[in-house]
């Protein structure tokens, strides 16, 4: 089995935003991996590894779209345990969601992968479209917002618990397929691969990379592809018209009586 995991680097969400020239200024930003992509890789590794053994049930490939300088972010995922990497060398600022999805689908086909695991969204623009689009382009089943995944190796299928508004929906998807993961996928018992004992409890959260993993990651192959190698024309139909900070909150008003409050709520604010 081959699992493809797509990963993205984003400006550190813990830093406060800086504005310049009608847009966001990322020039001094620290770039970090999108947290949901870390959950995706953790999911892939839990499916691929047999705890207590050395056998691997799947090859895990990380895919990043961006300039070669993104390589360090890929190294982090390789250091966590992915087997190899692919970079599609393109400027992400010049790509829209549709093109990104086409590139991912093209790599999926080229690799003849069985499963794409993606984060449910990237924390910078919170688009949340890529996995669904890729599934559409590939015409394979998808399960989005996965909170649990169970792999039925014999039947070549996954049972996925999806977080939806009114609870958890359980879906069975035959492979090849696309799964996008939500936060709860990294709870200790969310992923079962049929070989690791079902009672096994993983550490909560995505694993960190060990120093040994980091030094080994540098020896793992990372292929660099051009969009043209994949037959995808880059470009964007999206345009940023402007980005502005939300208006500052106005100061509150002090009222003397309940009547006055009621008056203001009904007449001024018109909320009751």
């Amino acid at each position: 089995m081959k699992i493809l995991v797509c990963v993205k680097r984003i400006p550190d969400p813990d830093e406060s935003l800086k504005f310049a020239g009608g847009g966001l200024d990322y020039s001094a930003s620290k770039w970090v991996p999108n947290a949901f992509d870390e959950y995706a890789i953790e999911t892939a590794l839990r499916l691929a590894e047999v705890v207590g053994g050395t056998q691997r049930l799947a090859e895990v490939i990380v895919l990043g779209i961006g300039p070669e300088s993104q390589r360090q972010q890929l190294t982090q995922f390789l250091a966590m345990g992915a087997d190899r990497g692919i970079i599609v060398d393109a400027d992400p600022d010049k790509l829209d969601t549709a093109t990104v999805s086409k590139l991912i689908a093209a790599v999926f086909k080229k690799e003849a992968a069985d499963l794409l695991i993606a984060g449910k969204l990237s924390q910078d623009n919170e688009g949340g479209q890529v996995p669904q689009r890729v599934a559409g382009l590939l015409d394979v089943p998808q399960a989005s917002f996965a909170a649990t995944v169970e792999w039925d190796q014999a039947a070549k299928a996954l049972t996925v618990g999806r977080e939806v508004d009114d609870g958890v929906e359980v879906k069975r998807v035959p492979l090849p397929a696309v799964v996008s993961v939500d936060l709860r996928i990294v709870l200790p018992k969310s992923v079962k691969n049929g070989s690791t004992p079902a009672t096994h409890a993983y550490q909560e959260g995505p694993r960190l990379a060990s120093l040994k993993g980091i030094t080994m990651a540098k020896r793992k192959p990372v292929a660099v592809l051009k969009p043209s190698d994949l037959g995808v024309a880059v470009g964007t139909n999206e345009q940023v018209v402007g980005v502005a900070a939300p208006p500052a909150r106005k100061a509150g008003q002090k009222v003397k009586t309940v009547e006055e409050l009621f008056e203001k709520l009904t007449k001024e604010a018109k909320v009751i």
Partner: protein, 599 residues
């Protein structure tokens, strides 16, 4: 607890590593040729995630619920059982050990900073790893291949932990007086009998076995230091059928005011006459072997002092930005809103002093790590020799600076919190309690003062080597355009300190008691000067960056902060050196000549 406490400033760590101490240059040494800057940065990124996300949230609970001692066994805080495997997985135990013993051969310079984050987050938790690394390193350096196979590998893998078992009730500062006995057996092992006290990590329930690296006397050995040998004594003996009891017992637990995540214990060997140990290296060399671990441990304690001051500094900095109180002098209008206390100059004095201690001390500790790397791995024999010499000189200085000034710094962090700082609802009091240990263990500050003046400063070439380094810094500072008065002040202070040592040594070699009378002040002089040296280096790097221009607002602020802290240390601390030198030279004799019965 401020959720966002960064423990250390990432920006500062990168600055010190690359702009001041040129860690990238280490990559040119064959030992580190397999690494690159990505490896350094990724390792630090993962270490700080573990520190911030796993260790720090466990700090408060571990301080509140110390280990328990029931039925002869210690149970540590349950969180340690999840923390321990994660520390091992990260690879901190073997980060800088050679590849052939399972390490990753990372420069100490980089590994040290990973440790700094972990210690700032939760010193007790980290120190299980630090002790294990030090103990295993002793076996690696001096043990037989057989001992390495049976003990070292398991310790480096984190399956077993290690301790250093030196102190006995009658032998603390004076290890020459230890009494634990070792009697040779026919099978080559030794029967061990004796009691140790304060043994950190001496028992716990986080790993299967504990190996005590213990100082003991083989029967018939001469009195004093020459009769001391080093033994590996496992709590459970690794036999052909697995681990069996080795008559090592926990006789009591010390109730401590700090470091409450890590138990310190009374350990008895051979209460039933059935404890065996294995000799490490040659008989009679125990203390000199142990000095390897103790020198490492002293730097670890120094780093701990800096880390404990750092986390408190960041806590008080955040508090000073938030807490509103009073109005600026000159604006008394009661209708105007109170200002955040960081607006008051004296609060900024307390913050800047902490910054100077934390970032100056960290720089000095990084320097010792860099010297460790060069002493072992430099191409040039002469560089290796000089680095070892300077490292030996700086070790007691760096340890004592971090412990003593770190304590001042922790007290300031509490002070900035006002009355809230005096309450256990806030963390600064916990860090103050933790910090106090650092001037006691691994040799008290007194012992390090005596050791510096009585031995290390007299080592041929040691002070000259330090002097040359300081001169080099001074000429770089001048070239970068720093204020000449500051440069000259450091040169003069260093010159005066060197002359003082020569004078004391010449005058009193025949009368060590008089010579050592002001060892504490001499230590203080060297602490102040070496940290001034580090601040001048940092100011030089900051000045260079500022004169390159086109900096982001954040970078501009960062470098300006560096210049201010350097100025603080060079102009308000360094001037203390001259009167101290006078005091030492004049042999001021108040305490020396106060008889015990006059108290």
């Amino acid at each position: 607890m401020t959720a966002g406490n960064p423990l250390l400033s990432d920006r500062d760590v990168a600055f010190l590593l690359y702009e001041v101490h040129d860690a990238a240059a280490l990559l040119r040494l064959p030992a580190f040729a397999d690494h690159d800057r990505d490896t350094f940065d990724l390792f630090l990124a993962n270490a700080r995630s573990l520190a911030r996300e796993v260790l720090y949230p466990a700090y408060r609970p571990m301080d509140e619920a110390a280990p328990t001692f029931t039925d002869g066994r210690i149970k540590v805080h349950p969180r340690m059982r999840t923390i321990w495997p994660r520390l091992c997985d990260l690879g901190v135990i073997t980060a800088s050990r050679p590849v052939d013993v399972g390490g990753q051969q990372l420069p100490r310079t980089v590994a040290l900073l990973a440790e700094a984050y972990l210690m700032a987050a939760n010193l007790g938790a980290y120190c299980y790893a630090g002790l294990t690394a030090g103990a295993a390193h002793l076996i690696e350096a001096f043990g037989s291949d057989d001992l390495k196979d049976r003990y070292m590998r398991r310790m480096y893998a984190g399956e077993w932990t290690g301790t250093m078992a030196l102190t006995e009730p009658q032998a603390g500062s004076s290890l020459a007086d230890i009494r634990t006995r070792a009697v040779p057996q026919d099978d080559g092992t030794y029967a061990i009998q004796g009691g140790k006290i304060f043994i950190s990590g001496g028992d716990h329930d986080i790993a299967d076995n504990i190996v005590h690296l213990t100082l003991a006397r083989i029967d018939g050995a001469p009195a004093g230091i020459k009769g001391i040998s080093l033994f590996a004594i496992p709590r459970l003996w690794p036999g052909p059928d697995g681990l069996v009891d080795n008559d090592v017992s926990t006789a009591g637990m010390i109730h401590k005011i700090g470091w409450r995540g890590l138990p310190s214990l009374v350990i008895n060997f051979g209460e039933r006459g059935a404890c065996r140990g294995e000799l490490v290296g040659y008989p009679g060399h125990g203390l000199s072997y142990m000095f390897q671990m103790m020198n490492e441990a002293r730097l670890m304690v120094g780093l701990n002092g800096v880390a404990t001051a750092a986390v408190a500094y960041h806590e008080s900095l955040a508090y000073a930005r938030e807490r509103r109180q009073g109005r600026p002098a000159g604006r008394r209008d009661p209708h105007s809103p109170p200002v955040p206390i960081i607006e008051h100059a004296d609060v900024r004095r307390m913050l800047l002093r902490q910054k100077a201690i934390v970032e100056g001390g960290l720089s000095l500790l990084i320097e010792t790590a860099r010297l460790t790397d060069l002493a072992h791995h430099a191409d040039d024999e002469e560089v290796r020799r000089r680095s070892a010499l300077l490292l030996d000189l700086l070790t007691p200085i760096a340890k004592s600076f971090a412990a003593e000034r770190g304590y001042d710094s922790n007290a300031l962090a509490l002070q900035i919190h006002g009355g809230y700082g005096y309450s256990s609802e806030y963390l600064p009091e916990a860090w103050l309690r933790d910090q106090k240990l650092n001037s006691i263990h691994e040799g008290t500050t007194t012992i390090h003062g005596l050791d510096l003046l009585g031995r290390r400063a007299l080592a041929p070439g040691a002070l000259q080597t330090l002097g040359r380094e300081i001169l080099q810094t001074c000429s770089q500072a001048q070239a970068a355009g720093l204020d000449l008065a500051d440069v000259v002040a450091l040169q003069e202070a260093a010159g005066a300190a060197g002359a003082l040592i020569a004078e004391l040594a010449g005058r009193h070699l025949a009368d060590p008691e008089r010579m050592l009378r002001h060892s504490h002040d001499v230590l203080d002089i060297f602490m102040t000067i070496t940290v001034a040296w580090q601040w001048l280096r940092q100011a030089t790097a900051a000045r260079r960056a500022l004169s390159r221009g086109t900096l982001s607002t954040d970078d501009d602020a960062f470098y300006r902060g560096k210049l201010q802290a350097a100025q603080y240390w060079l102009r308000t601390e360094l001037p203390r050196v001259a009167p101290l030198v006078r005091l030492c030279r004049d042999e001021e004799d108040s305490y020396a000549n106060t008889r015990p019965e006059w108290f």
